[in-house]
Structure formats: C-alpha cells, structure tokens
C-alpha cells in the first residue's frame, strides 16, 4: 500500500514537472505568458460567437445566441484539441524516457491536463465576460449539471486522445486522418445545433455521437427550463470507458516497444 502511495506521489511529481515544462515551452516567460492558455481559446470563442450573431445562424431555438455559442464552442475546444496534443507526442520526447520515472502516459496526461485546464478556464472566463456585458448569459440554472456534463466531455476527449495518440505511434495514418476527421466531427458535435430541433429520425443518429450527449448535458445545466435536452448518460459513460481502456491497453503495448534514442 505504501509503495502504491509512493508511486502515485512520484507520478504526480513527474506530471507536474512536465506540465510546467509544457507551459513554459508553449507560452514562455514573457508577455502575459501562461495567460495565453485561456486567452487563445477565448479569442476563438469570441470570434465564433460574433460570427454566429452577425449571420444570425440558424441554431433551431430561441436560446440567446451568444450563450449558445459559448457553451457549444467551448465544448468543442475541450475535446477537439486533445488529439493534436497526443498524436506523435512520444517521438520528440523520447529522450525524456531516460529519466526512469517518466513514462509515455505521463507525457500524455500532462499535456491533456493542460488542455482541460485551458479549455475550462476559457469557458469560465468567457461566460463571465459575456455575463457582465449582456443579459444573454445568466448564471447556470444547475451548476452541478454543467460540471458533470463538462467532466464527461473532458473524459471523452482524454480517452479518445490517448487512444488516437497510442495508435499513431504504431500507424502513421492516424496523424493524416485526424485533421479531416476533426473537420467532419466539429459540425456534427452538437455545438451548433440542438438535438431537440432535429427531426426525430436524426435525433437518434445524432445521439450516437458521444460528444452530442455531453453538450446536451452542459446546456441543460446552463439553460435548464428553457431547454429540452436529449442525452443518454449510460451510453456516454460506456463509450468513455471503452475508449479509455482501449487507449491504455494500446499505450501499454507500445510502451514495451519504445526505444529511447
């Protein structure tokens, strides 16, 4: 038991070290430094919200468009970028494996943790900014539900990214396919539509996409009574579990074969 706690402490230490290294490498010591962590996604969300408002995009509801954009686009940012952070992530960091306590999983987890922190911070900050600027966003009706949906989405992103990353170490085509896959999945992800507005036949199909379920939960928490949500928590949890287990198994497999330079 004490050795289990001991190794958990070592892993915590290693992930913290990698996280700080990543922050410094990506955002530097200068200017506003790590603020970029959420300024970057914030700019994206602001831009999308502005575009949607300007074109009065059809999102099939009477919900305030800015709030709709913030919940939708933040949710995309949460899971979408994670794959980019894990695919091909081991090779440039091979020499780190000479430090015995650094394992491939730590490289992944530190990067994914940074993504979750960045996307979450941006979601919160952007919500507050819009909340102060307009009456469009009000305090979520059910904060706990927003957090639950957000957590499930984050878990989905982490599971998918670990699997995609670990498979990419063995098969390069994953890296090539990830880009087009992203572009195809983003419009389908539920960020720009609500399931309730779809024809009944399409609703069923849409809910096969795990992230649609996640976004619906987040929005139900946010808009509550004004929103008729469709989702299946059991399905989302099952998909997340399967992705995570397959991802960890594949990572375990490639870890045995990785040779530091």
């Amino acid at each position: 038991m004490s050795s289990l706690i001991g190794s958990a402490r070592v892993q915590g230490r290693v992930i913290h070290a990698l996280l700080m290294r990543e922050v410094l490498t990506r955002y530097g010591r200068h200017n506003i430094g790590f603020l970029w962590l959420f300024v970057e996604p914030m700019i994206f969300t602001l831009g999308v919200a502005a575009l949607w408002s300007a074109f009065h995009a059809v999102h099939g509801s009477s919900l305030p468009i800015v709030a709709f954009a913030v919940t939708g686009y933040s949710s995309i940012l949460l899971w979408r970028n994670m794959g980019f952070r894990t695919i091909g992530a081991i090779e440039p960091n091979l020499s780190l494996l000479y430090h015995r306590n650094i394992k491939p999983i730590d490289i992944y987890l530190s990067r994914l943790l940074l993504e979750v922190i960045g996307a979450t911070a941006s979601f919160v900050v952007v919500s507050f900014i819009f909340g102060m600027m307009s009456d469009d966003i009000t305090w979520p009706e059910n904060l706990a539900e927003v957090i639950a949906g957000w957590t499930l989405l984050a878990w989905f992103g982490v599971g998918l990214a670990i699997l995609a990353g670990a498979v990419s170490e063995e098969h390069e085509f994953v890296e090539k396919l990830w880009h087009p896959a992203q572009y195809l999945l983003v419009p389908l992800s539920g960020a720009a539509f609500q399931v309730d507005a779809l024809p009944t036949a399409l609703q069923k199909l849409a809910l096969y996409l795990p992230m649609v379920n996640g976004v619906e939960i987040v929005r139900e928490g946010f808009f509550g009574s004004k929103f008729h949500a469709h989702y299946d928590v059991g399905y989302l949890v099952t998909v997340n579990t399967v992705l995570t287990v397959l991802g960890l198994a594949q990572l375990r497999k490639i870890a045995r074969e990785i040779t530091p330079e």
């Binding site: 070592v10 230490r13 290693v14 913290h16 070290a17 700080m20 290294r21 410094l24 490498t25 010591r29 020499s95 780190l96 494996l97 000479y98 430090h99 015995r100 306590n101 650094i102 870890a255 045995r256 074969e257 990785i258 040779t259 530091p260 330079e261």
Partner: protein
Amino acid sequence: MTPGPITLENITKIYRTRAGPHRVLDDVSLTIRPGDKIGVLGPNGAGKSTLVRIVSGAEEPTRGKVTRGMSISWPMGFVGGFQSSLTGYDNFKFICRVYGQDPKALYGFVQDFSELGHFLREPVRTYSSGMRARLAFAISMAIDFDCLIIDEVIAVGDKHFQEKSRTELLDKRRHKTMVIITHEMHFIRENCNLVYVVRGGELHRFEDIEEGIHFHESWFG
C-alpha cells in the same frame, strides 16, 4: 534507505525490424550489488546500450524481471533531454521537479560546476555543444543517485572540463555503484571490479578484468 542490489532475471529483448524479429538479448541474468563498478563491453550494436537501458528502466524488456533496490541515474552528461527553447535554469528546474529535489539547494553547485555564468538564464538553443555538455554533466552530478550510468565516459567539454569531471565522478563518487560502457580499456582497468561482455545475445561475466578484456578483444581477431 540503504541501497539494495539491482537484479535482471531471464531478460529477453527482441526488436522488430523490417527483416523480422531481432533478438538482442536472449535469456540473460545479472546482479549489480551496491558498490559494484561494472564495465560493459561488446562489439558495436551488440546490445550494450540496450542492456544498460533495461537496467536503468528507460526501456522495458520483452520478457523477464527487473528489480531495483537503488536509485539509478540517467546517463551522466546526457544532453538529449533538454528543451532547447527553455533556459538552462528552466531545464535544471525541470529535472529537480522530476526527482523531487529542491532547485535552490542545488543551484549553487550547477552554476559553479557548469561554469556557464549568466548563460544559465539564456535559452539552451544558444549554447555551443560544449556548453550543453557542461550543463548536462553539472545537472546529472547535482542529483544524488546510488547507481550512476556512464555511457561513453566524459568526452565532454575541453580538456580542463574533462579532467574536472573525471575527478568529480571517479574520486568524489568512488563509493557509488557504477555501470560503465566504454571503449577505453584503461578506464575499465582502473575503475571496474567486474566486466560483462555482451555478444550474440549472451552475457559473459568476468571477475577477472584482464580475462574479460581479453575475451572481448579476441572477438575482433
């Protein structure tokens, strides 16, 4: 905690190559007792580095069991782990975090030993290869390990730095366990109490250093 032995039991390592599986180590075993100075010899590509990486845990064996009773360094003076857009200091701090050490307590030594002065606050990409090597060596010396991995000894920096490094490593750390890969036989003669020769997937153990060196050199005819 007093250091205990490192043991490798029935280790097999197979690499996948285009020509099919390549068996680098075939069911080999070894024990490293605290205080041992082990010289690892063998022809190029025979698997010396593979063996040492399995000892240190940088790589996993295909089959077999490794137990480690002491802390093991990364290869002394290894420059590969630096993030070149970060400063020498930030890279040093990263290593300290990984090993749970207080950078404040060790910074004086690193500053002193690396002789890098204000360059420690500059990005590593601006360093010459000699400067990188000095930084790497200083950092690996700053952290206290039970067992030191030395792969191709101290050809870093200029003559002055090489001598300083050898003194620091071989005199001041005489009591440490060491695993040494080198092609310099005099280095093995002067420092090792045990020689392992890696050849043809097998591991040959020699308590008599001269015998081990002779066995190693006989292969070259």
